[in-house]
């Protein structure tokens, strides 16, 4: 009987305690963040979408080699002597046309290992984290500033230059000494 009355009392009392707790939450500030309108400040070193500043890129391929999932693909073409590619912002002279600089962000694991080896600090993690796409191909970002035609042009230029050089060299070798043919062959 005593237990029975105690149960009754506990039933009523604990419900009232619970109701007090819930009613007090009515007047507490809300914790919801209205996401698309309000965004939380990201941590300082947050790792999100990669960005490459092509003005500074020297095409050294170090980022592609550092990448553990091989999501960066770089193709370069040597510049022909007459061309001036300018310098990077920290004074390095650019000597390669970067004809292809593709990052497949769908593969990216956001480790930021590509960021550290870059000699000109031209690849870094931005704070953009909303870049979903309907098609997977759209997640391959092309950073190269050259159009495909331009890239082809550069390639042809270089091949032409190489062919010219080889022809010159051959002519020179034939002209000077037929015996040094072996040397020139080694040089090539």
């Amino acid at each position: 009987m005593k237990q029975y009355l105690r149960n009754t009392w506990l039933g009523i009392y604990t419900i009232l305690v619970g109701m007090k707790v819930t009613i007090s939450h009515l007047f507490k500030p809300k914790v919801t963040i209205q996401y698309p309108d309000v965004r939380v400040q990201l941590p300082e070193r947050a790792r999100n979408r990669l960005y490459v500043n092509m003005d500074d890129c020297i095409g050294c391929d170090q980022c592609a080699r550092a990448c553990p999932v091989d999501c960066i693909e770089i193709e370069t073409v040597k510049a022909v002597p007459g061309e001036d590619l300018g310098t990077t912002s920290n004074g390095k002279r650019k000597a390669l046309w970067v004809t292809k600089f593709d990052i497949d962000i769908a593969k990216c694991c956001y480790c930021a290992l590509c960021v550290y080896p870059c000699p000109t600090e031209c690849i870094w993690m931005t704070d953009v984290y909303e870049f979903s796409e309907y098609r997977r191909e759209d997640l391959i970002y092309h950073f190269s500033t050259l159009t495909p035609e331009e890239a082809l042009q550069k390639k042809l230029n270089y091949q032409k230059f190489e062919a010219e050089k080889a022809r010159q060299k051959a002519a020179q070798a034939v002209a000077s000494n037929p015996q040094s043919k072996q040397d020139s062959g080694n040089q090539n």
Binding site: M19, I23, K28
Partner: protein
């Protein structure tokens, strides 16, 4: 009464009755259910430190209207193995039970659908009608979860009818009337004449009645929560166990009908509590219409007070829902048979003894 007035207004008895029957549906149940759902979502959100719906319209006020528009467009699916006739009629049977109860609710001294002398009895009788609908829905769905939900629901409602009616009988015994309009009329002028505060009785008895009346109200309130399948007594539609209980197989407007019936029922049980214990349509402190001498204002104020008190009790039901966890089946039954029913009986005897002291 409003039906006679409307019959006179339209010059046709049946047209008048039809309009007066449709009035509470379109004037109160539909808008109330829409905004009760909205309030439920807001209350739950606030109690969990969230914001709740706030995208559709200012402060999300049109959220439930958008929801109902969506439900109307939904495909009306009847499962291939369902019992077609029962499946289709069940939502309407449930809603009919709820809607029929509105006929005897005294919204104000001049607006009551049917001023019958057996008001309380009638409402308790027709609101148990929904048990049949629930069992129909659960059985017709041909789904184990539906049937489990329906069985639990029926067991629960039938059990909880006992303490609910005993608590009501306790109050009715003192009041001496089953006519809800008359009961409301008794608790006139000031809030200390409400039955929960001892009613319009003179002498020592008034003070003796206060405690038993509060107990009776609490028992009725708890039992009525169970009768409308609200948390903590929502095992018939326990989402974590039974998908959605007896309305698992329903889609679109039929599903909306269950919702409408649930929220309608919440108001009906609150309205009974209000009429019997909290003065019905009586204002707690006189009428503005009386003090400034505008007679037609009084019924309007009465409607306001009735709906206001009813809505307040509905809010308390929501408050409880977001406070308490669901009871287990055995706990549910032991609460009903071992606690509420004995207390209701003891309360009945005590009130009987007090009534004898003269």
């Amino acid at each position: 009464m409003i039906s006679d007035y409307l019959a006179e207004f339209f010059g046709n008895k049946y047209l008048g009755y039809l309009v007066s029957a449709a009035l509470p549906l379109f004037m109160w149940i539909l808008p109330y259910a829409l905004y009760a759902v909205y309030a439920e979502r807001k209350v739950s959100a606030f109690m969990q430190d969230r914001i709740g719906p706030n995208r559709v319209g200012p402060k999300g006020l049109f959220q439930t209207i958008a929801d109902i528009l969506k439900l109307i467009q939904k495909e009306d699916i009847v499962p291939a193995s369902a019992d077609k006739l029962l499946f289709v009629t069940a939502p309407y049977v449930i809603f009919a039970g709820t809607f029929a109860a509105f006929a005897a609710l005294p919204f104000s001294s001049v607006y009551i659908g049917s001023n019958i002398d057996l008001g309380v009895f009638y409402i308790m009788a027709v609101s148990s009608f929904s048990v049949i609908g629930i069992l129909m829905a659960g059985w017709a769905g041909n789904n184990k979860y539906s049937l489990y939900g329906a069985m639990r629901s029926v067991a629960q409602i039938v059990s909880y009818e006992v303490p609910a009616l005993l608590a009501l009988v306790t109050a009715i015994m003192v009041i001496g009337s089953l006519n809800l309009n008359e009961i409301s009329q008794m608790q006139t002028s000031r809030f200390w004449n409400w039955w929960i505060f001892g009613g319009p009785v003179d002498g020592i008895q008034k003070f003796l009645y206060i405690f038993p009346m509060i107990v009776a109200f609490l028992i009725f309130f708890i039992a009525s929560l169970a009768e409308v399948n609200r948390t903590p007594f929502d095992i018939p539609e326990a989402e974590s166990e039974l998908v959605a209980g007896f309305h698992t197989e329903y889609t679109g407007m039929k599903f909306a009908m269950f919702f409408l019936a649930e929220y309608g029922n919440m108001f009906v049980v609150s309205a009974i509590s209000v009429s019997i214990f909290f003065g019905g349509w009586q204002s707690p402190f006189g009428y503005l219409g009386n003090s400034i001498g505008i007679n037609w204002l009084i019924p309007v104020e009465q409607v306001f007070w009735f709906l206001f008190k009813g809505a307040l009790l509905v809010l308390i039901q929501m408050w409880l829902r977001w406070t308490l966890p669901r009871l287990r089946v055995d706990q549910l039954m032991s609460l009903c048979w071992k606690y509420l029913t004995p207390y209701a009986f003891i309360n009945l005897v005590i009130v009987g003894i007090i009534t004898l002291i003269k």
